[in-house]
Every structure is written in structure tokens, then in C-alpha cells.
């Protein structure tokens, strides 16, 4: 923000030299035919990801050694912008010589890091980070095909922000621990939403199952529910401003927390009958139950204990009147 944000530059200025070079002259661009794979004694894998209608698509070709699972040759074809082509190229390069299991561990962040000119400077501007995600997804697709399993089986966690690879569980935890209330805060804490912005809210480049706004909403609801409970019990209100029901609940809670256990141990109990404001005083009418009924202490020690705790916790002018 500030000066740098006032006059936009072209996104191309933010591409690393490596991205530029790979766009101009991709190294692993091409295809592997069935014949070529047969000659190598390899299994041909052709995996597609994306769609032209979404603005980017990639086809990945692998020739995999059937015994060792090593990717002997890796090629790509891509419909997309310069970053999509450079990312696909880098991804295909990173696959070469790895086993399929090793290749599945390559993430979009590895792809982006490999395209940096120096370790500190991102290879692409934030909104282009999305392009490298496609490269990562197509590897999983190819591996799933090779192993005859579902693509989802490689992902143990639900990823909400694919660009920065932030999981659902991380986001939920960070939002709660830090009491986050805005997208900007989530981005500051986790980097989620800093790149292609698709994960922030519906209507972005790509449709998602879970958006950051949903998580904020969910947390907000949770907080509301908690404070609604608090309001229902009147916990946050001064005693005199409570409704009669809230007052009864509040008194009951104080008795529960401090007195009732004692009475029950002695084989008794008590109930609250009514609360009335009587001039300066707030009169709380109670009835003793069980062993308390008729106990000597019920009009002296026990009564004072009840009255004192209610005065302390709720209001100094409370009088307790047993009936």
C-alpha cells in the first residue's frame, strides 16, 4: 500500500528472468507418444488439468519405468499465460528422475521457488501464484492415474488457499486463537488470500467449496451464539436491568455454584419462588426443601450464607425471605 500501490505497473515487470526465459523458450514443452513410450519400455501417462474456459489448462506426459516407478521423461502442453507455461515447464522439469511417490510431494510452492532468480524475490506477482497450482494439481492427477487411485487420496488435509497451501484446520485455529475478524488479518497471519484471491469469496477466478469469508462468518456466528447465551443468562447485565426470568436464572446460578451442593450434602435443597423490588430492597422469596425445612440453621447461618453470597455476586440490597 501507499506510494507503490498508487501507480500500477504491468504484471510482466514482476516476472523473474527465469519465468521470462521459460515462456520464451520452454524446455520440456512437447508430447510423448505411445510409440516413444513403448520404445523406452515405459508406461505412458497422459493427465489433463484445467479447462480453456477457465483460462488455463495443462496436459502432462510421463514415461514411467514400470518396475522402479521412476519418471524417465516428462513433457507438457499448456493453454495459458506466460506464468502458466513457465510453471508447467518447471513442474515437468522437477518431475524428471523422481519416482511417482516423490513427484507427488512437489507442491506449487516448490515450482514457484524453482523459478526465482534469487531466494528472496518471488518469481511471479501474487495474482499469478494461481498458475503454479495447476502444475501441482496435474502431478497428482498423473500419479493417481499411474497408481489407479483417486486424486484426492494424495491430499490428507483440506486446502482452502491453494496458492499458499493453507489448510482448513490451520485457518480455523489461527482465526480462533487470534480472534481474527477480517480477511486482511487472515492474510497477514497465514498468507491465505494473498495471491490469486479465489479463496476469499465466491466470484473469483475459481469456484471453491470453502471461502475465507465463510470461516469468518462461522467464527462470528460462534461468538454471537456464545454472547447470546450470556445475554439469555443476563450474565453481562447489572442485576436490576435483568428481566424477571434473567434474575431468577442469575440467582439460581449463584445458588448452584455456591450453596446447593452444601444443602444437598445435608439431605436438603431450596427453590426460588419470586423476586420483588421492595423500595430500597430486592426481596428474594425462597422455600427450603427436604432436611433444610425446619432446620435451625435455615433461619440463621444458612440464611445469612445465602444472603451474603447473593449480595456479593448480584446486588448489595438483596434480602432473602424463606417462606
Amino acid at each position: 500500500m501507499g506510494m507503490d500501490s498508487l501507480i500500477g505497473g504491468t504484471i510482466w515487470d514482476e516476472y523473474s528472468q527465469k519465468v521470462t526465459d521459460l515462456m520464451n523458450n520452454p524446455q520440456n514443452m512437447g508430447e510423448i507418444t505411445q510409440e516413444q513410450a513403448d520404445e523406452m519400455g515405459a508406461k505412458l501417462i497422459v493427465a489433463d488439468f484445467g479447462a480453456e474456459s477457465c483460462g488455463d489448462a495443462v496436459r502432462l506426459y510421463w514415461a514411467v519405468h514400470p518396475k522402479s516407478d521412476v519418471i524417465m521423461l516428462s513433457k507438457f502442453k499448456s493453454f495459458g499465460c506466460g506464468t502458466a507455461i513457465a510453471s508447467s515447464d518447471t513442474m515437468a522439469e522437477l518431475c524428471k528422475g523422481k519416482t511417482v511417490d516423490e513427484a507427488v510431494k512437489i507442491t506449487n510452492i516448490d515450482v514457484e521457488m524453482a523459478m526465482r532468480d534469487n531466494p528472496e524475490t518471488p518469481a511471479v506477482p501474487p495474482q499469478k501464484m494461481h498458475c503454479s497450482v495447476m502444475a501441482y494439481d496435474v502431478i497428482k492427477k498423473a500419479a493417481a492415474q499411474y497408481k489407479g487411485v483417486d486424486m484426492e487420496s494424495f491430499e490428507k488435509e483440506i486446502i482452502v488457499c491453494e496458492c499458499a497451501r493453507v489448510t482448513l484446520s490451520t485457518l480455523k485455529e489461527v482465526i480462533r486463537l487470534n480472534d481474527l475478524t477480517s480477511i486482511e488479518q487472515i492474510t497477514d497471519y497465514t498468507k491465505a488470500g494473498a495471491f490469486c484471491k479465489s479463496c476469499i469469496k465466491p466470484g473469483g477466478h475459481e469456484a471453491k467449496d470453502i471461502y475465507l469469508v465463510d470461516l469468518l462468518e462461522e467464527y462470528e456466528q460462534e461468538k454471537m451464539a456464545k454472547s447470546a447465551d450470556a445475554v439469555a443468562s443476563g450474565a453481562n447485565l447489572p442485576f436490576l436491568e435483568m428481566t424477571v426470568v434473567q434474575k431468577l436464572k442469575a440467582v439460581d446460578k449463584v445458588i448452584d455454584d455456591n450453596i446447593r451442593q452444601m444443602l444437598i450434602m445435608d439431605g436438603g435443597d431450596m427453590e426460588i419462588l419470586d423476586i420483588k423490588e421492595n423500595g430500597e430492597n430486592i426481596d428474594i422469596y425462597i422455600r427450603y426443601l427436604g432436611a433444610c425445612n425446619g432446620c435451625a440453621s435455615s433461619s440463621t447461618g444458612t440464611l445469612f450464607a445465602i444472603e451474603n453470597i447473593l449480595r456479593e455476586k448480584l446486588h448489595p440490597e438483596i434480602r432473602v425471605l424463606p417462606i
Partner: protein, 400 residues
Amino acid sequence: MRVYLDNNATTIVDPHVFEQMEPFFVQKYGNPNSLHQFASDTHAPLKSAMEKIYAGIHAHKDDNVVITSCATESNNWVFKSIYFEYIITGRKNHIIISEVEHPSVIASAKFLESQGCRVTYLPINNEGLIEAQTVRDYITDKTALVSIMWANNETGAIFPIEEIGEICKEKGVLFHTDAVQAIGKLPVDVQSANIDYLTLSAHKFHGPKGVGALYMKKGKELTPLFHGGSQMGGHRSGTLNVAGIVGMGKAMEQAVDALDYEMADIREMRDDFEDKLLEIEDTFVVTPRDKRTPNTILISFRGIEGESMLWDLNRSNIAASTGSACASEDLEANSVMEAIGAAEDLAHTAIRFSLSRYTTQEELEFTLAVVKEAVTRLRGISSSYAYAPEGHESGLDAHH
């Protein structure tokens, strides 16, 4: 060779325009409102410039053509004044725009929408055109404003402004048109088209950046946005941009003079260039030529994402444009292409070439050769044209 085919974005300042502006920086720099010779030196040139601007759009001398800083200001002024005069007062609660207006119109309409005004977004048809009669269908007695651009910046599609003006007049609804893409490319006459408000911007017709205008018909004056020293008759305060106004006047004069050349010669060059582009396999143009500004081509190259085509053109020093996917900040497909309902896989493949009177035949031939090379290279990379073994089920058709 450096080739500039992005004239719908901005244009070169005509050297004659620049020449006329130059004295107002170092020699005749007086504030026109002051009382001394420095000020007086600016009066005749300003008057002459204003006369050229009025003449260029056939404004009556009792109308107000108020100089602004740009088309975005002019467009915002219309919408925000409508808000102050009609919406906030509860007199009206509805406006009509097209779904392919310039962002300064769409965003202003959305702002009014956020303040409780109802907005109708008129659809374009599958040729990128608007049918005037649909405007009639949407007007109610609560409609405060209809705002439809004269010509679209992306496709060059010309909208039926005169018919829409007639409908608005008949219904008693205010009519605004953003004519930024029309000046210098089409005859613009505010009288015959029944226009109440018209936006224009100098840098789209070989004038300088930072100066535009809003035409307001006599009796239809808007609440000012800029209050201050009562310049521009109190309609828009702020020290006059003397050099800018002088430049816009000269640019308007030249645009009027060059209109025949634009509509005949540039049109012919454009058509010829377009014919040759369309000879490349799997290329598509949507809006018919005679319903487009004479300088504009929006063409799709199947299998080539727009930004990658721009990349290859730029490597050969050719400037063109795309509103598609990766080139823009918001990563969205060309919105006009989407509105047209073009096949979805083509929405990301559109490239706009926009010519000007400075474009030469030689430049177009060079561009054609570069485009052909780029098509070969980029389709070679593209997954759309890639090999698949027998029985491979393509996963590239579906949405992800």
C-alpha cells in the same frame, strides 16, 4: 519497428496538438481568472478551443460543455448528481445502463445500487450489440437515467444512440452517453441524438491525457461535484487546465477534419487486415464490421490464451490489448466476450487491435507476419492442439 495498435486505450498526441499546448507551460502560464496580461494571454486561445470542442459535437452555444479531468470524472459526475437530485430525495429510484459499459460507469452504477437505487443492466446480443427497443421495455416512471455508451471499447460495437435518445425523450427520462470511443471515429451530434449528457476524453483522439469534458444540455445542468472558485460557470471549480483545454480543442478540430479518412481509409485498412487475420485457421470475430467503429478488431485465436499472444506480440514491439484472463488484475475472462455469450473456451483468447490515423500499411503487414509466427509457436505449446494417445479421455473440456 515499433507498432502501436492499442488506440482504444490511448493515442499518440498529435504533434500539432502538442505544438499548440507548448506555450502555456513556460510563457503564457497565467491563471485565466486573474486580472493582468498573463491571464489575458490565455483568453483568446481558450475561447477558440472551446468553440472547436462545441463544434465537434454540435453543441448549442447555450449548452454547457464543461471541461473535466477525464472521462471517469465526467461519468462519475453524472451518476453522483443523479443520486443527489433524484435518488436520495426519493423522486426516482431506478437507472438503466448496459452490461458492457466502461468501469467508471459500471462502478458508479454499483455505488448507486449500494445506496438503494435499482439498476438495470441491459444485455447485449450475440453480436455484441444492443437492441434499442429493450431500453423502452425497462423504463418505468421511476427511472431517473439511461446511460448507454456510444461505442464499446472492446469490440468497437456501435450502439443505437439516436434511437435510444428518441425513446428517452419520449418517456421523459434523462439520457447520458459515454462517447469516449466515438469521437474521431463516428459523426457525433448531440442535437440529433437527443442527448442530455455526453462524456468525452481528449487522449482517445490524439489529445493530451488529463483532460475531458461533460456536455450538459441547456436546462439539464447537474449539481456540481467540485465546489470552489466558480470556474467553468460554477459547474466545475478548479483552476483551468489551460494547456489541456487548448490541446483538446486542437485535437477535436483535427478529429473532425480526419473523420472521412478514419471512416473510409482506416476502415479499409482495418477490413483488409482483418481479412488476412481471419485466413489463419480457427480465428473468430463476433461483431459485424459495419456495426463497429472503423478502427477496431476483437479477434479470438482458438487455443491461445490472450496474454501469451500479447507476450509474443510485445517481444516484436507490437502493442495490442486483451481484457482476458491473466492480463488483467482480476484474472477474469474478457467481460464483453462473456456477455456476448461467446463459446466459453474463446473468452480467454480474444485480442484487440485498434488502429488510428497514424497506423500504416507497413505496420499492419509486419504485425500480420508476427501474429502468424506467434500462432504457430503458441499453438505448438497449447494443450488445445496437443497429442493424446488413443482412448485418452480428455479432461480439458470440463470446468475445474
